[in-house]
Amino acid sequence: MSDARSTILTAIRATLRPDRAAADPAAIAAAAAGLLLRVPPLRPDRVRGAAAEAFLARVASPAVGASAERIVSLAGLPDAVRRYLAAHDLAASIALQPHPELCALDWSGIATHPRIDLDEPVAVGLALGGIAETGSLVFHSGPTAPTLFAFLPLHHIVAVAAERIWPWLEDYAAALATLPVPRNVNLVTGPSGTTDIEGTLVRGAHGPGHLHVVLVDPAYHPPASDAA
């Protein structure tokens, strides 16, 4: 095995560095950083104004295909979930991501369980953040964030804080560089889908068929009618 390693590296070096000069990591890092300087002016014109607004618009766009709503505080999440369950005629039983902030909420009237079933109808979770450019939710796996929560349920309802919306993909990448890298980073953009049969888009392949995003935005002033 180590044989293969040295054969491959030797072959590559014979082409790239015929003079046998060692690679210069500082020069390579500088060149790599230089490439990134070219990114901002050529990105597609997606994020104008507040990142949270752009994020919400993108999430609910047909291209992403999720639904979205906004609440002022996380305490309002159980009510949002109740409304969703009623609107979709779903039983009042959910898999609740074992996150302390979610577990601390008042779920009365809804049966919650911390483990997710193979055919789970509804799971409720909390994303680490979101990306406005693409309307993506960001999940980092960990003890309070099992990966399968984003993949097994038929309906996935996800709360995300407005102050954790990064404008561009690169802004998330920069934030990641300051955090411990988790086992899994999952950027989730809309419900699952496939175009594998004749290029026809069908929502709900193996992952969730429905994704509902609940943006938690303390600066939001709900219209009087749904302030109750």
Partner: protein, 467 residues
Amino acid sequence: MTQPAFAARVDRALADPDLKRAIERTTGTARSKRAAAVAAWPDFAAARELGRDIKDHVTANLDHYLLTFERNATAAGAIVHWARTAQEACDIVVGICKAAGAASVTRAKSMLGEEIGLPHALADAGIERVETDLAEHIIQLAGDPPSHIVWPALHKTREQVAALFRAHHHDPGALATVAAMVASARRELRRRFMAADVGISGANFLIADTGAVCTVTNEGNAELTTTPPRVHIVTAGIEKLVPSTAHAMSLLRLLVRSATGAEVTQYTTFHCGPRRPGDADGPTAFHIVLVDNGRSRMLAEGLAEMLRCLRCGACLNHCVVFRQIGGHAYGGTYPGPMGAVLTPVLDGLAGTQDLPHACTLNGQCQEVCPVAIPLPTLLRGWRERSWREGLEPGVVRGSLFAWRFLVLRPALYRPATALALRVMRLFARRGWIARMPLAGGWTRHRDLPSPARQTFMAQLRQRRPSA
């Protein structure tokens, strides 16, 4: 693969009306969605140059990035393996499966896995393989190889898929719509995800500075393949490296728009090492197999530009030849323009030399390639090499020498072409030639336009009598 074999495969493909319809349905949608996505991005051209430069930067420092990736992946708990050849790569994967006592593996679509022949290697080892990508599931049921790098079941019409599911699924239901077919596959595969001992995936990017492996998918099957089993094995070509997550983002924008016309896939996942202490799920062992299989040779032999390839499939969707003959006629793992460049590397030029000829050099592929690979130039390179190595058949060599003899002698060439015109016009009906001796290769599948009454030189003389 010999020349008649390629010609025979092409004949078979051209004679299949279902195939033509299936290809056009998917590639037509892909072309229009890509065009819309590119039109909505004013700076696409500049972004494409950046994509090219990122890949070239990695290629120029491939040894450095491979070692950086290996170091960081290992620090995250991954076990990194190296394979020179397809055989070595398969042996490593099968060895890991056996050591894990695996009876069943799930697999998320990976073209590299197809390239190295992993499905066969697993079958030979007696390990059950469950393909979880919808298209791979379809072709596994049909016993077919993939016919496109993004839509492996592109050659199947919806009617054919319905027939397959009716025959193989436990609870297929009515299957009246594509949505019903997708739902049937969801029911069928659900339990298989949890029952697997090992999950195998490919990689779209290897992130050097974190040691993570990035996959981009839409169905959710990849994460259901890589999360529940005890062991996750990644097979990846050594060209998949990028310096950092931020660099991957630039390539991601190009890759997804070029592949499906979407702006981003539903799932972009970075896998970094095995399950951590306290994690609720995830594999306990994480292996990465770095595969060369001809790539270091491409670097050495003038094909470095091909190492930019993101496997987006745009060059296939826009290729006039691919759209006529489909993927299977190419006879290799990779079809279309990128396949015609890669297959001679993987299978040897002798026997695949027809592929670089199956091209009109219209340049569409290069135009749509998100990393600006000069595919027509690379194809011409193979043609020249095939000529130099004497792989072109005697008839072709003889005719070209005869042609050269004529064109170097205008006094002979002009009357010869004037005579040829007159003979050709004898076979023309209403401006088209449907049949003519020596032209069967052309006229079997299409008509030849009748030539002008006189040669170019003769017309020129008439228009400029003084000259």
